[in-house]
């Protein structure tokens, strides 16, 4: 299995965010983390470690490249397509780099009633993001030209009582009324590139 055949299946494309993340590289630290996860499953079922390994990759490199898929497949003794089909299924796994700060705004009913669409508009306005080409299935993420920010609508983040809510990378923020967008972004200052 060569990289080139996977390139057709993985939609990795260069984004302004690409430069904000290190290129995929296997370090001893990553190997150790992967081994720890693999050991949680019976030897004959190490395929179960697909999601944990993909999370390790995405957390460090921002997204999952064809190269990373090859590595995960190798670790778990799977055909790369078995990893690829997982990557292309889950909305939580990305095939292209987001911004340095990836903002997921909940758009489901209670948050929408609380103003999450207006919050999204405000965030786009403040970060210079154009969401006009986004769709929910294939191109959910829009990245700012500077690569510092990206936005995506998420489905129910399970905090409907404090709507509207969003995640910025791994940080959860609740009751983010649209007028609080400035305050939110101030916590994540852009870096010059």
């Amino acid at each position: 299995m060569s990289d080139s055949s996977l390139q057709h299946l993985v939609a990795s494309e260069k984004t302004p965010g690409t430069a904000k993340f290190p290129s995929f590289e296997v370090s001893s630290e990553i190997e150790a983390e992967a081994e720890k996860r693999i050991a949680q499953f019976p030897v004959e079922h190490k395929r179960s470690a697909v999601l944990p390994l993909l999370h390790i990759v995405q957390h460090k490199f921002g997204y999952i490249s064809a190269e990373a898929i090859e590595w995960v497949a190798g670790k778990l003794e799977l055909e790369p397509i078995k990893v690829c089909e997982v990557v292309t299924f889950y909305p939580g796994l990305r095939q292209s780099a987001p911004g340095k700060f990836h903002i997921r705004v909940c758009r489901t009913l209670s948050c929408a009633m609380g103003g999450s669409y207006e919050l999204m508009d405000k965030l786009c306005e403040l970060t210079g993001i154009d969401r006009s080409k986004q769709d929910s299935h294939h191109h959910p993420i829009a990245v700012s030209p500077c690569g510092n920010y990206s936005v995506e609508f998420a489905e129910c983040l399970a905090s409907c009582g404090t709507a509207p809510v969003c995640l910025v990378n791994d940080d959860f923020h609740e009751a983010v009324a649209p007028e609080k967008a400035v305050e939110l972004l101030a916590k994540y200052p852009a870096e010059d590139s």
Partner: protein, 470 residues
């Protein structure tokens, strides 16, 4: 000792599971938990026969808090008696039913309560490995729970020979990747096996017999597993005195949307009516507004109009009227009114909300989350969204509404898992109950307009089978 809260519970609440949520001076550490008698119930449980624990849980009448309301103790007994394979316990913490936000607070603020409940449950069903399937959008909770597991293991509550009883258990946190379908137990199992989470067909794949790695597997919701700990402490009979017959215990209602005080409220099941919940506990509608509709148990449950009156049957078969406001919040009462208690997510809408818009928002959710395995659901959920898109854009005709309804009824009951119902029930109910309002958003001038060839083909296929080429 008086417990102080940063956000005090409402006087009508009965805090069992949420006793430590928002508690002043409380943190998720094991020291804090043990100081309050944590893991004492585990010690009690480990002195009991596993079958006795299952018996207590059955006796308690506990019904699953994830959505279906299936009796937890009975679920446990479905493990084949002559089983020789390993047994797995999975905690379903993929909380993602729109409107539901109870598990979030348990795993962030009181993880040891869940772990203790899981150890007791694993002991009862004979599992030596357990997983917490945690939704990806709870990254902090994954860290908190992993730390809690590590600390519990250091104290001898997990690992080999737990507290010298000879019982072994490992618990692992397994993170999902933002897919709603992983909350469906067989989809969850496929996901845990490292595959796309396509639900399995039942029969034969009832998890209790053929679950994870084709071994017996018990999948329970976070809140359900926490209840087990309290059932052991109180005894099944005593626990069953909470709530109502067949609807026992407490449950956490999550209220969101157009009320003055949204939030989580742990109540005895069935001890509050809709009126009491919305007016007394949640402070009524926002100023100058009136309540219009309520989704009572997560977005999949059928919507109820606030001016609705239900015809219910008395035991002697005579009929009685029940107003929306007098519905008791329990499994059976909501089912009798044609909806369900589901996951306890109550979404409230006032008279400022357009039902076309609400419908479209819900349709967008299901169109996004359908796993795509079954054709009626994959195609139907996306058709339903396209039609409601037209409705909110003012481009729909009255026929569109008819088509929408037809699509919904042709998904319902024709899919491998309950997602088919979850996606079609909201459509069926909103159209049935707000038809007049939706019709106002359609236009005569859009009648007969083929929006595109695909839409026209769908319409002909659904409404006029005879004219559709074979």
């Amino acid at each position: 000792m008086k417990i102080e809260y940063s956000k005090p519970p409402h006087p009508r609440e009965h805090r069992l599971i949420f006793k430590n949520v928002d508690r002043v001076g409380w943190d998720p550490s094991i020291e804090c938990y043990i100081n309050e008698g944590g893991y004492d119930d585990l010690k009690k449980a480990l002195k009991m026969e596993p079958s006795k624990i299952t018996e207590e849980v059955k006796q308690s009448g506990l019904r699953g808090r994830g959505g279906a309301g299936f009796p937890t103790g009975m679920k446990w007994t479905f493990i084949p008696p002559n089983n020789t394979k390993p047994v797995y316990l999975i905690c379903n913490c993929d909380e993602s039913e729109p409107g539901t936000f109870k598990d979030r607070y348990i795993v962030h603020q009181d993880p040891h309560q869940l772990i203790e409940g899981m150890i007791i449950s694993a002991y009862a069903v004979g599992a030596n490995t357990a997983f917490i399937y945690m939704r990806e959008e709870f990254p902090e909770a994954a860290i908190i729970c992993e730390k809690a597991i590590e600390d519990a293991r250091a104290k001898g509550f997990l690992g080999k020979d737990i507290l010298g009883t000879g019982f072994d258990l490992e618990i692992y946190v397994h993170r999902g990747a933002a897919a709603y379908i992983c909350g469906e137990e067989t989809g969850l199992i496929e996901s845990l096996e490292g595959k796309r989470p396509y639900p399995r067909i039942k029969p034969p794949y009832f998890p209790a017999a053929l679950g994870l790695y084709m071994c017996p597997t018990i999948v329970n919701n976070v809140e359900s597993l926490c209840h087990v700990k309290h059932i052991i402490r109180m005894g099944g009979d005593e626990y069953a005195k909470l709530g109502k017959p067949r609807n026992t215990g407490t449950r956490i209602l999550c209220v969101s949307g157009d009320v003055k005080n949204p939030g989580y409220f742990e109540i005895e099941v069935g001890k509050l009516t809709m009126r009491e919940l919305l007016y007394e506990v949640c402070g009524g509608p926002k100023d100058g507004r009136e309540f219009k509709a309520v989704i009572p148990g997560g977005s999949s449950s059928k919507i109820l109009r606030c001016d609705e009156v239900f015809k219910l049957k008395n035991p002697d078969n005579s009929e009685k009227d029940l107003s929306f406001w007098d519905i008791a919040l329990d499994f059976d009462s909501l089912a009798a009114c044609g909806s369900m208690a589901g996951s306890g997510g109550v979404i409230v809408m006032d008279d400022s909300r357009s039902m076309s818009w609400v419908l479209n928002n819900i349709n967008a959710f299901y169109a996004h989350e359908s796993c795509g395995q079954c054709t009626p659901c994959r195609e139907g959920s996306s058709w339903m969204k396209k039609i409601s898109d037209r409705l909110v854009e003012g481009k729909a005709s009255a026929e569109d509404l008819e088509t929408l309804e037809q699509v919904a009824y042709q998904i319902d009951g024709r899919t491998i898992c309950a997602f088919g119902e979850a996606s079609s029930w909201p459509v069926e109910a909103i159209i049935a109950k707000f038809r007049e309002e939706l019709l106002e958003d359609t236009s005569e001038s859009n009648s007969g307009v083929a929006h595109n060839p695909e839409a026209e083909a769908q319409r002909r296929f659904l409404i006029d089978h005879d004219s559709f080429p074979a």
